[in-house]
Symmetry: C2
Subunit: 242 residues, 2 copies
DNA sequence: TCAAAAGTGTTCAAAATACACCCATGA
DNA sequence: TCATGGGTGTATTTTGAACACTTTTGA
């Protein structure tokens, strides 16, 4: 059975998604562990159907793996060195899992050829509210979990570099854009916004100046106060203005 | 004879180059007119060989068309809608030029299929010194000329949109980068730099403040004065510091 | 009434912009 | 010596960071 080779995919072209989530002052990335012996970790990836656009494909892949649509997702870089192939990687997987690759059952010859060709990857990154996501495993995944961006496992191919480049790109985008609020729930306090910025940029900011800067962007609206039970002044809640 | 289909190109993937040049307060783009009846204008394009990286391919294409290498060239955007194909365009060309498409001589069936597939394009833009470039026509080009960015002919497919996006990207890059000086000759006056910026951003700047801003970047070195014969103070020449 | 954390106003320094003046050049 | 355009110094405004103070909350 051919899983890939006969599908209506564009060959030699893949999409890799760096899905950023945020929780308790930690920036996290969604990573799958492959369902094979040996520890193989990968970004959620997929291929482009002949009938769909590249952005469309990226959205589909994101939705297939997280269940959510209509989320911030953007291309950040292409990866296309001449020798970029996962042939060695796949051979290693097969070597460690020989019993599962007997007689073309798991992976046909055609699929092997298709998958180990030289590949060009379009790198996308997404920002999601971690509470809205239920990671969806495929048959090939043993697990699919959030990893702190500073405690990543050893990733296959150049996926580690991809995450680094995605983070760089995210930081650059934030200078002119407040897209990052996609990482927060519907309503949030100013302190939560500040924690988020400090986590992403790995810096600290003065509370009052930060508040002024964000409010001056004129994209937030102030709602009622949030009484937490703590013995201090209740902070305001904010949400995106529509 | 197959020109494309049997070549070692990656299929369904193209590179389009927006080559910016600058002359006398005009920002220009290098555009080819195809060597067929009917006015068909195109960006310099090419395909990616199996054995070369994508950036490498872009540099090769640029060199094939301008004769220069080691020039500023960068990816700015991918173009990959589902229906993105030049089938209609090519059929139109063939219709207007039937005498040249008799008997597989100019374009084989295989080539036609290959060329009219759904294509994804990697958009690159380059900045070149217009005086160092001798546009190199291929067999398919009737002409290859510089066009003022505000006086572009009607371009095939989405090439017009590509130029717009490339310009946007160039402007963004300029905010943090002085790469734009690739558009100028080896030595230049401050006024020439200012003219260039004003042309690209379509704004005017105060002379003294502009000079200060550029010099504060610490990337230029001041050379001797340039005596033009005009009855005014001779301006200094500058060049990139190494 | 007190500690903790949020909100807001004021001050200070730095950067961007505007204004003014002087200088070199060739007719 | 004059008009022209180039170079540079000084004021002014705007921006952003630092500091200080007040308010709210629940114990």
């Amino acid at each position: 059975m051919n899983l890939f080779a006969n599908q209506d995919y564009i060959s030699q072209l893949a999409i890799d998604c760096v899905i950023f989530g945020y929780q308790e002052r930690e920036l996290k990335v969604l990573i799958t562990k492959l369902n094979f012996k040996g520890d193989f970790y990968s970004l959620p990836s997929g291929f482009i159907l002949q009938k769909e656009g590249i952005d469309e494909a990226a959205h589909r892949i994101l939705e297939e793996r997280t269940g959510i649509s209509n989320i911030f997702l953007t291309h950040f870089k292409n990866f296309g060195q001449a020798n970029r192939t996962n042939k060695k990687f796949l051979e290693h997987v097969i070597e460690l899992n020989q019993e599962r690759f007997v007689g073309d059952v798991t992976l046909s010859k055609a699929d092997f050829e298709w998958l180990t060709a030289r590949f060009i990857s379009l790198g996308y990154y997404a920002l999601v509210d971690i509470n809205k996501v239920t990671p969806i495993k495929t048959a090939l995944d043993e697990s699919m979990e959030w990893y702190n961006i500073h405690e990543l496992p050893t990733m296959m191919m150049d996926h580690h570099e991809m995450i680094e480049k995605a983070l760089e790109s995210l930081r650059l985008n934030l200078d002119t854009n407040i897209i990052v609020l996609n990482l927060l729930p519907e309503t949030f306090t100013m302190k939560e916004v500040q924690d988020l910025y400090e986590t992403i940029f790995e810096e600290t900011y003065a509370r009052n100046n930060f508040q002024k800067k964000i409010l001056d962007l004129n994209v937030l609206e102030r709602l009622e106060k949030k009484f937490t039970g703590a013995q201090n002044k209740a902070p305001y809640l904010y949400r995106f203005r529509r």
